[in-house]
């Protein structure tokens, strides 16, 4: 247990020491999106009756920040450790692959949630946001960060170079988040694209999270929860199998 707690502590200290880059920067990015999109689209786009576009957008941006930062934390920590070689300090001690996974995962979730809460806090004076079903919002935030934390572990183990990881981030994570309905309701899309969006697990995370604020969503939150939980199970199993086999970590 001490091994796991120490690794978790180290992972938390690691991102907290560079909080300017790991917390403040993503909060600023979310804020910029909010200001620019709200300025251009407020009053022109209406998704739900009685919900302004800015209010609609904000939970999407919060969730996007949670997901991207959860992914960034485990993936960048692992690739840095692999490239600098200091991952050996984690492979020599008697830490099991379960402890290893749990520590990286929890630290990722904390980073994602800290950034999410910070975005909410910073935008609170600007946007009045209802909170219709907070437990739904919390559930999707936890599950979403847990999924992306695990995906970050997988990507961090798989990638040998920083550009491979950047490729993963730019060609997988970014398109999936941008096409998940952060900025729009998928009901506004033509039929084919709507169907396609239903294949994107990120859509369910964002949609379910949004339900927590407005009590309304494109998809029933119970169904979204089922999809998100299934995604979680698949990625956890995949990440744990990689770690147990020692893939790219133990030659």
């Amino acid at each position: 247990m001490t091994g796991f707690l120490t690794l978790l502590h180290k992972e938390l200290v690691r991102f907290w020491k560079v909080a300017f880059q790991t917390v403040a920067a993503p909060v600023l990015t979310a804020l910029l999106y909010l200001v620019v999109f709200a300025h251009t689209l407020e009053g022109r786009v209406s998704v739900y009756p009685d919900v302004g576009y800015t209010a609609f957008l904000l939970p999407g941006l919060v969730m996007m920040s949670v997901l991207q930062n959860a992914f960034a934390n485990s993936s960048s920590s692992l690739i840095q450790s692999k490239i600098t070689g200091n991952v050996v300090f984690l492979l020599l001690p008697p830490i099991s692959y379960l402890e290893f996974f749990a520590a990286y995962l929890l630290a990722s979730m904390v980073r994602g949630l800290v950034v999410g809460v910070a975005v909410l806090a910073v935008t609170a004076p600007l946007v009045a946001l209802p909170l219709a079903a907070p437990l739904w919002a919390l559930a999707f935030a936890l599950l979403g960060s847990a999924i992306l934390g695990a995906l970050g572990v997988i990507a961090g183990i798989w990638a040998d170079k920083f550009d491979q990881l950047a490729g993963f981030q730019n060609f997988v994570i970014m398109p999936l988040t941008f096409l998940s309905g952060v900025f729009y309701s998928i009901h506004s899309l033509p039929g084919f694209w709507q169907e396609l969006s239903h294949l994107n697990p990120f859509f369910y995370m964002i949609d379910g999270f949004r339900y927590g604020f407005f009590g309304k969503s494109d998809f029933a939150p119970q169904a979204s929860l089922a999809v998100v939980s299934a995604s979680l199970a698949v990625l956890w199993v995949a990440a744990l199998r990689l770690l147990r086999s020692g893939y790219k970590l133990r030659g």
Partner: protein
């Protein structure tokens, strides 16, 4: 006495390269053991298998009787490894690094021992310095400290003195000798054969993934290394008919190879009989470098020495 390390038929292949081709050896508790071999001989792969960093294709390794795969938690607690590469985590100071490392081994409050190790390795005034700001030699000491946080009975050092200046090297060896005297088993790989000769009581030589020599340092020196004698006589040539031949001659100085000390007396006797007087005399004792070169040139040193004995019998 139990074995600190029990390595049985360990094999490891990387694609076409057979890094380890069935290595077996035992290191007894309290030994100072040397693992020598040219680059690519498999030393680091073997250490990685012992440390659980690499999984062997075949064979088994036990550290203080704990199997490194089946009982990896106990095996890893028994083992401290100083890696060859100068690796560090740039986010942390020396003290943070050592505290985290202690925690990974399940030790919550370890500051007393951390302070002692830092003092022994002369790291105390760098305790709160970030790892990035340390010189290479200092980083090397932190690596040694990291391997010792959990007081492992078996310590493996993979070329700990590569690129380290003389002062630090000697300090490091004093410290490691003391650890050995305190009962720690030490396994060392180095390219400095002089160091191995001075420190190690027993040596294994690896070549292309196989053990080609395994014996006490003294036996290896006796078995494989001759004596080199340099003499200057009262004349410019070795006396004819004395039966003494030089392998080199330069400015009246002759180099004669002897197999062992017993041959020395016979040689002196023959020179005296031939009426030659010795003016200068220098005897170079056997050294590990020559043993190493001869073992590596001959391919497999364990086999020829056995067959040699068989022929003699």
């Amino acid at each position: 006495m139990t074995a600190a390390l029990e390595i049985r038929n360990v094999a490891k292949r990387y694609g076409a390269l057979q890094a380890l081709a069935g290595v077996s050896l035992e290191v007894a508790e309290g030994e100072f053991f040397g693992l020598l071999g040219p680059n690519g001989a498999g030393k680091t792969t073997l250490i990685s298998v012992i440390a659980g960093l690499v999984r062997a294709d075949a064979g088994s390794v036990r550290v203080m009787a704990a199997d490194v795969v089946l009982d990896y938690r106990r095996a890893r607690r028994m083992l401290g490894v100083v890696p060859q590469e100068l690796v560090f985590d740039p986010f942390f100071s020396v003290r943070e690094t050592l505290r985290f490392q202690s925690g990974y081994y399940g030790l919550r409050r370890n500051d007393d021992w951390i302070d002692e190790v830092m003092q022994q390795l002369e790291l105390t005034d760098k305790a709160d310095t970030n790892m990035r700001a340390l010189s290479g030699g200092m980083k090397r000491r932190v690596l040694v400290a990291q391997a010792l946080v959990h007081k492992p009975p078996v310590i493996v050092l993979d070329e700990p003195t590569a690129g380290v200046d003389v002062g630090l090297r000697q300090g490091l060896w004093r410290f490691i000798r003391r650890l050995n005297a305190d009962g720690h088993t030490i396994v060392l790989t180095t390219h400095y054969l002089e160091e191995a000769e001075q420190l190690c009581s027993r040596i294994a030589m690896l070549k292309a993934g196989r053990v080609v020599a395994l014996d006490s340092t003294r036996n290896l020196l006796e078995k494989f290394s001759g004596l080199e004698l340099q003499i200057r006589l009262d004349r410019d040539a070795l006396p004819e008919g004395s039966g003494v031949t030089a392998v080199a001659a330069e400015g009246g100085r002759f180099t004669v190879r002897l197999r062992d000390y017993a041959e020395l007396e016979a040689l002196l006797h023959r020179l005296r009989e031939a009426g030659a007087a010795i003016r200068e005399f220098e005897l170079a004792p056997p050294d590990l470098e020559e043993v190493f070169l001869r073992v590596m040139a001959s391919g497999d040193a364990t086999a020829p020495s056995r067959s040699g004995r068989a022929r003699g019998a």
